[in-house]
């Protein structure tokens, strides 16, 4: 009953069936216990969920060891944890190692600097996420923040001790690789996607096609290896590009190829009439692209774009294999100490939670953004 009047005559409104309305009891009866089979499934699954939840609470909270004493030689006395193994989590390992996991081998007394960097990154993400700040000035905010992060991490000025890049580690590395990675890969991807659809410049189109197909055809791991091992062989003697930068470039190139395909899908989905209308009004190619084509094409592909972003945020952990100390590597090294060796589970749970927090925030944000953009259009 979507209409109340039909050619002026009033049609009585039929009330919505009760099942669709609020009451949880009615909902449960209609959806969980509507036949003996569904009742059986509901009971079995319910039992499993409860069992699992009880197990998690017992292991993670009730029987967990939160801290352990330190021996005279400075190492941790983990016997309490070892006794609880299997029945309770050893959160003491996190307590003992969290600074190492977060900051890697960055000098201990200087770790306030990467801590500030993490805060700066998060602030930058939040500011960039707010549509109110979507203006030209945002580029300057990015430039300023990233410069500040570079200065803080390296130091050597303003009385800060110089910290070489190979001592950096942990979460800042993950954030640097993914933020710089996507910040450079995204505009590159837009250009590649546009180039691949170019009808006027066949040479540009060829280059873009070859680039995408080549990069997509090899695993990221092999690109990282090439960046870390082979690339320096091509450089003249004495020139040494920092290992992190090489990995960063590999990630940018890899991400851009994938993002370009996502963006191309958006360009293709846009009705041809949009570009034609812009042409007919006399807009130049770049005016048309910036004001008509991209805003609509990118809006269409927000879900797969965010999907790719999330994938790359996690893929930065592959730098582990070329010895860059990102969050995952730091976690892995943290448990190489004999006393803590048997508590990998706890470490990986915490690492997973950190990754999850960032990825979930991205996913949640993108859904909100889609909703906002749709609402703005139909207000």
């Amino acid at each position: 009953m979507s209409t109340t009047t039909l050619r002026g005559a009033t049609v009585p409104l039929k009330p919505q069936p009760a099942t669709a309305m609020g009451s949880p009891w009615i909902w449960a009866r209609a959806n969980l216990f509507n036949s003996w089979l569904s009742t059986a499934i509901t009971l079995v699954l319910g039992y499993l969920v409860v069992r699992f939840a009880v197990g998690v609470i017992e292991w993670g909270f009730l029987n967990a060891v939160w801290s352990v004493p330190t021996r005279a030689d400075g190492t941790a006395d983990t016997s309490a944890c070892l006794n609880a193994k299997g029945i309770g989590a050893c959160w003491a390992v996190i307590h003992d190692k969290y600074r190492f996991i977060l900051f890697g081998r960055y000098p201990y007394e200087e770790q306030w600097r990467p801590a500030i960097c993490i805060a700066l990154f998060i602030a930058l993400f939040i500011v960039s996420g707010m549509r109110r700040f979507w203006r030209r000035e945002l580029a300057w905010i990015w430039l300023g923040t990233l410069t500040a992060i570079g200065v803080l991490m390296w130091g050597g000025v303003l009385g800060m001790q110089f910290v070489p890049q190979d001592s950096w580690g942990g979460l800042p590395i993950t954030l640097i690789l993914s933020t710089f990675g996507l910040a450079f890969a995204f505009p590159l991807a837009v250009l590649v996607a546009l180039g691949r659809r170019s009808t006027q410049l066949p040479a540009v189109k060829m280059i873009c096609v070859v680039y995408v197909e080549l990069i997509r055809g090899v695993p990221l791991v092999s690109l990282l290896f090439m960046a870390s091992v082979m690339f320096p062989l091509f450089l003249p003697e004495g020139i040494n590009i920092d290992k992190l930068l090489r990995a960063q470039i590999a990630i940018i190139l890899f991400a851009a190829a994938y993002l370009a395909e996502v963006i191309r899908a958006g360009l293709q989905a846009l009705p041809k009439g949009q570009g034609e209308a812009a042409d007919a009004l006399g807009l130049s190619y770049w005016q048309k692209t910036a004001r008509i084509i991209l805003p609509q094409a990118l809006r269409l592909v927000i879900p797969p774009l965010v999907n790719t972003f999330i994938g790359f945020f996690k893929d930065t952990s592959l730098v582990l294999i070329i010895g860059i100390f990102d969050l995952l590597t730091a976690g892995k090294v943290a448990i190489s100490e004999p006393a803590w060796q048997s508590f990998a589970t706890e470490i990986y749970i915490v690492l997973a939670l950190v990754y999850f927090t960032f990825c979930f925030a991205m996913s949640k944000y993108s859904r909100g953004l889609e909703r906002d953009l749709d609402r703005a259009r139909s207000r």
């Binding site: 009705p271 009439g273 949009q274 034609e276 209308a277 812009a278 042409d279 007919a280 009004l281 006399g282 807009l283 130049s284 005016q287 004001r291 008509i292 805003p295 609509q296 809006r299 259009r377 139909s378 207000r379």
Partner: protein, 263 residues
């Protein structure tokens, strides 16, 4: 609509020395092996109104789209207001500024408000200050009788309203020539009149118009000349009454009987 009213209308040909608005000379175009425009020659005088009709697939859209180079022709020449259309992008810019186009499917920009749709080109192509562009847009939106919708988005408007916005958007560039490609074919019957009325008003103001349409009433009322196309050729052309009352070719006769049956 009375016969006398339309027959008494004179073809207002441009004063001598004035260049014609549009000259197509032996224009040929192929899509692959398909020959879609065959030796199309057509001269449109300044302030003349030409209606193009013909069966579907006869090349009407292709011809009209060649005039502002949304399609490129392969042989012959097209001169718009003294500027020949070639690969030269400067010539293209000049022509596109002078030629406005209205599409069958409106093609409004759905992510911009009605006002922004209208001010976009004046601001970015004509480099007009934003306030002036908005004032201009509001004056044209008033002319097409929808100033109160300026802050809405295209998706919130009816088809007829959207098409009137599309006309206003094109007019905001102050074109000398307006091209219409079946502007009312995508509309519900009750909305056709509001769009045609807008176009009639435009014609009365002396705009040069080339209009692909099957609205015979509109053609009789407004057109100085009707051009009938079939299979990529201009088969017949002449004043509307002459053409509709005394078709010389079988093809036009067949076409007219078909649309009259359809209406």
């Amino acid at each position: 609509m009375s016969l006398t009213q339309t027959t008494s209308r004179n073809v207002r040909v441009a004063p001598p020395g004035d260049v014609p608005a549009i000259v197509l000379d032996k224009v040929n175009k192929w899509y692959g092996l398909m020959h879609v425009l065959r030796d199309v020659s057509l001269t449109v005088a300044q302030r003349e109104k030409v209606v193009v009709c013909g069966p579907s697939g006869s090349g009407k859209s292709t011809m009209i789209r060649c005039i502002n180079r949304l399609e490129t022709h392969q042989q012959g020449s097209i001169v718009v207001d003294g500027t020949e259309l070639t690969d030269d992008t400067r010539a293209l810019d000049t022509v596109r500024r002078e030629v406005g186009m209205v599409f069958q499917s409106f093609n409004l920009f759905p992510h911009l408000t009605i006002l922004e749709n209208c001010t976009l080109a004046p601001i970015w192509v004509r480099k007009m200050p934003k306030a002036d562009a908005e004032e201009l847009a509001m004056s044209y939106l008033s002319r097409v009788k929808i100033p109160e919708q300026a802050k809405k988005y295209p998706g919130q408007l009816s088809g007829g309203q959207q098409q009137r916005v599309a006309i206003a958007r094109a007019l905001c560039m102050k074109p000398k020539i307006m091209l219409f490609d079946e502007p009312t074919s995508a509309l519900d019957p009750e909305m056709i009149k509001e769009v045609l009325d807008t176009m009639i008003g435009l014609a009365e103001d002396g705009m040069t118009m080339v209009c692909v349409t099957h609205e015979m009433g509109f053609a009789r009322q407004v057109a100085d000349r009707v051009v009938f196309m079939d299979r990529g050729e201009i088969v017949e052309s002449g004043p509307p009454n002459e053409l509709f009352e005394n078709p010389k070719t079988d093809r036009l006769q067949l076409f007219l009987s078909q649309i009259l049956r359809g209406h």
